[in-house]
Amino acid sequence: MAAPMLRGCCLGRCWALACIDSSSRHGRGAATGFTSSGKRGQSFVAQQPLLTAQKSRKGEHKWAAVVGLEIHAQIASNSKLFSGSQVHFAAPPNSLVSFFDASLPGTLPVLNRRCVEAAVMTGLALNCHINKKSLFDRKHYFYADLPAGYQITQQRLPIAVNGSLAYSVCVGKKWRQVITKTVRIKQIQLEQDSGKSLHDELRSQTLIDLNRAGVGLLELVLEPDMSCGEEAATAVRELQLILQALGTSQANMAEGQLRVDANISVHHPGEPLGVRTEVKNLNSARFLARAIDYEIQRQINELENGCEILNETRSFDYKLGCTVPMRDKEGKQDYRFMPEPNLPPLLLYDTASLPAGADPQQVINIDRIREQLPELPSETREKLIQQYGILPEHSFALLNEVGLLEFFQNVIKETRAEPKKVTSWVLNIFLGFLKQRNLAVNESPVTPSVLAELLNLLDRKVISSAAAKQVFEELWRSKGKTPSQIVSERKLELMQDEEALERVCHAVMEGHPQVVMDTKRGNPRAINKLIGLVRKVTHNRADPTVIKEILEKQLSS
C-alpha cells in the first residue's frame, strides 16, 4: 500500500461505498463508488455519496459505520516472550522450540526483558499511560497449536492504557488540505503467540509447527473511532511506520508480523450502536480497507432488507472479495481467565520511584526509555517540511516506502538542485520506475549519487528536462555508466550557443510562414508547433523554454 493518506474521505463519517457485486442494488449505474489505481497500489478513493440513490430506497436516512481494530504485532526480539528459544522467520519446522514452548510438564515461564521494553516504548510513542504494575493471566481454549491449552496474556491489568494514534487525511480540492484524525487506544498488552497449523487436505492431517508458539506479541486495541475502511487502513499504516521507527516490530503484514481483526457495526446517526461483527483473516493492507467496506455495505444491505445482523465472526475471502461466516461457531467462548500463578506482578519504575541500589539489569525505568525514544514518523515528516519546504503529502510519500527517505536524503546531500525538484524526481520518476519493475529501493540500479549527478547536470542546464528523462532510462538499463557519459555518448547536451539557436528559429519561421501567421493571430497552439519544429531541427538539444523566448522575441520584432 502506497500513500498512508486518506484521499477524498469527507470529514467525520465515511459514506457507504458500493462494492464489486452490490452496486446494482442502489441503482448507481455504471460508476461504482471506488476507483482503484493498481499501479502504485493505492487503496481506493472514497467518494461523496449519491444521496439521491440512497433516498430512493425506502426514504431511509443516512447510515454511519463504526470500526474498531484489534492489532497483534510480533515483537522484534531475539528470544520468545517467556522462554529462551530464538525467534526467526521461516526456520525449519519445530527447530526453535524450547521445553516451555512445547509445554513439557514442570516447565515455567520467565519474562523477557526486551519484550517489556518494547511494550513500554510502544506505549510511550502512542501517548499511553504506562501501568507501573501489570499482571499476567491465562486465557484457556483448546487448539492443537496451543500445547499448554492456555495463552498467557494480560487481561486484568495490561501494561499500557489510554493512548492515541494520530493519522492524516487529505481532503478538499486536489487533496491539498491535510486533516489529522485520532483514534483512541484502549490498551496495549503483552501476550504469547500460538504455533501454526498446516492443514494437509491430501492426507487428512494437520501438521503443527511450534516455532511461533510463545513469540511475544503486542496486542493493541483501537477504540471504534474509525468510520470506514480507508480510515482503518490509514491508521494501520501509520502504526506500522511507528512500530518500524521504534524498532519494536517489523510490522510486515505479509510475513504475519502484523495481524489485524476488525469489529464493524452500522447505525443511524443519533441512534444507539448496532450489533457488531468481527472480521478476521485480514493479512494484507490492501485488502484491509476492502474487507471493511464490504462488511459495512453488507450490514447496510441486510438491515435495509429487514434482516438482523448476527454477532458473529467472519473471515475475509480474498478470491470472492467478501466476508463469509467462519466455520466453527460454538457460541460464546468461556476462556476461564485466571491469574498466571507462575509470574509475579510486573513492576516498572520511573526515576522518582526507582529503589536505591537497584541492579539496572533487573529493573526497567520508564523515564530512561522515554528519553531514548527514537524519532517518530510524524516528527520526521515535520522536519522534512521545515527543512526542505516540501509539501505535506510528499512527506507522507517519502516515509511510506522502505528506504526511500534515506535515498532522498542522500541525493539532497550531493546535489545543488532545489529540494522541490529532487522531491519531484524521486517521488514521480524514480519511484515510478521502481513500481513498474516491482523493485524495492535497495534493489535500485540507480544509486543516490548517480541521481544526484544527473540532477546537477539538469540544474546547470547542461541538459533539458526531456533529455534527463532519457538519461535516466539509460541509467536504469545499463549499470556502470555515469550520467555524464550517457549525455556525451548520445549527444544530449543542450545547445549553449544562443546565436546559433536564434538562426535556427529564424530559419524555421521563414520556412513555415503559415504557422507564423497563426501565431501572430493569437493561436496558442501554433507557437508550440514552432517550438516543436525548432526542436526537431536541433535534435532536441535546445531548451524549449529558451526556444519559446527567442521565438516570441522574434515574432514581436
Binding site: F99, L104, P105, G106, T107, L108, P109, V110, L111, P341, N342, L343, P344
Partner: protein, 317 residues
C-alpha cells in the same frame, strides 16, 4: 550402616569405611527385598551404579563434592528426571521420559548424590494416602514391624495377610516409605497441602516443608502452582537441614523464587530443649487450641514455656 544418619554415612565414606558403590549396592538389594512396600515406581539401577562409581573416583582422589557425595537418595515421581521415566503415578504420563532435570534434582546430582529411583505417590499428587496411584498403594513399613504384627495377631479375624497393612499417608508416601525402610538416606517429596509432612508423620520420619519461594519449582509437575513446594524427607532433622542447604536459593528458571537472602542456612547445634520456647498458632476456633494444649505435649519443664501465637496467617488456614 543403612540405618545411620546422613552425616554419619558421609563421614564413613570420607574415611573409607565403606565405598559409594558398596553403599549403593546395599541400598539396591534392600529395595529389592522390600518390593512389597511398593515404594518405588522406577528403580534406576544402572544410573545409580554409574553415579556411585563416579563418586568413588572422587573420594579416592580426595575431591568429594560435599556432604551429599555418594549418598543414595530417592525422588518422588512428579519431579522431572532426565532420561528416567516420570509418570506422576498416572497413565497420562506413562512412558514419558523428560529431556531435562528438575532444578532440585540437578542440585542434588551436582552435589554427587546417587539416585536410587522414582518413588510412588497419589496420582499427580492428588491425595493424602498414596493409595490412588495407578501403580497401586504404598504400604507403610511399620505395617511389618513386630509391634504392629503382635497387635494384629490379637485382633486377627482370619484376614488375608496381604491386605493387612497400613497406609503411608500422602501424597509423598513412596518417598516416606523409602526413607523409613532405610533404602535411602533422603528423599524428595512435594508439599501442597501437607503432602510431605503427612506421610512423614505416618512413617515416623522427618518431613520438612520449605516456605514457598525458597526452593525452585522448575521441573516439579504442578498441582497448585501457588502453593506447591518441593519437600524433604529424612530420618533426622540435621539431615533435612543439610539437604535444605543444597536445595534452597534463587533459580532464574522459576520466577516465583525469592532472591537469595544472603546468609547461608545454618541449623544451630542445640541439644538441650529445656530452654526452648515453642509457639503454637492460635486458630480462630478456641476449641482446637484447647485440644492441642491439653494433648500429649506434656514434657517436663516445658509446660510453662508453651506460648500461644496469634498470627494473621492463622486466619487463612
Amino acid at each position: 550402616m543403612l540405618g545411620r544418619t546422613l552425616q554419619e554415612v558421609s563421614a564413613a565414606l570420607k574415611q573409607g569405611q565403606i565405598t559409594p558403590v558398596e553403599l549403593c549396592q546395599k541400598c539396591l538389594s534392600l529395595i529389592k527385598k522390600t518390593k512389597f512396600l511398593n515404594a518405588y515406581i522406577t528403580i534406576s539401577e544402572e544410573v545409580a551404579l554409574k553415579q556411585a562409581e563416579e563418586s568413588e573416583k572422587r573420594y579416592k582422589k580426595g575431591h568429594s563434592l560435599g556432604a551429599l557425595d555418594g549418598i543414595p537418595v530417592a525422588v518422588k515421581d512428579n519431579f522431572s528426571t532426565s532420561g528416567i521415566e516420570t509418570t506422576c503415578a498416572s497413565n497420562m504420563l506413562k512412558g514419558y521420559v523428560p529431556p531435562y532435570n528438575a532444578t532440585v534434582v540437578q542440585r542434588l546430582l551436582d552435589q554427587g548424590a546417587v539416585l536410587m529411583g522414582k518413588t510412588n505417590l497419589d496420582e499427580f499428587a492428588m491425595g493424602s494416602g498414596s493409595t490412588d496411584g495407578v501403580f497401586g498403594p504404598v504400604k507403610n513399613p511399620w505395617s511389618y514391624s513386630k509391634q504392629y504384627r503382635e497387635k494384629r495377631k490379637q485382633k486377627s479375624h482370619g484376614e488375608n495377610e496381604d491386605s493387612n497393612w497400613l497406609i503411608t499417608g500422602g501424597s509423598s508416601g513412596g518417598s516416606a516409605a523409602a526413607v523409613s525402610a532405610f533404602t535411602c538416606f533422603a528423599a524428595l517429596g512435594s508439599d501442597t497441602g501437607g503432602s510431605t509432612r503427612n506421610p512423614a508423620a505416618h512413617c515416623g520420619i522427618v518431613g520438612f516443608k520449605p516456605s514457598y519461594g525458597l526452593v525452585s519449582r522448575h521441573g516439579l509437575i504442578p498441582l497448585v502452582n501457588s502453593m506447591d513446594v518441593p519437600g524433604i524427607l529424612t530420618r533426622c532433622v540435621d539431615d533435612a537441614a543439610t539437604v535444605l542447604g543444597v536445595l534452597a536459593g534463587h533459580d532464574p528458571k522459576d520466577s516465583t523464587t525469592i532472591q537469595d537472602p544472603g546468609k547461608p542456612f545454618m541449623l544451630s547445634s542445640l541439644t538441650d530443649v529445656s530452654k526452648l520456647c515453642i509457639g503454637i498458632p492460635k486458630v480462630s476456633l478456641p476449641f482446637h487450641f484447647t485440644e492441642i494444649l491439653s494433648g500429649q505435649i506434656q514434657s517436663p519443664g516445658l509446660g510453662n514455656r508453651l506460648v500461644g501465637v496469634e498470627s494473621c496467617l492463622c486466619h487463612f488456614c
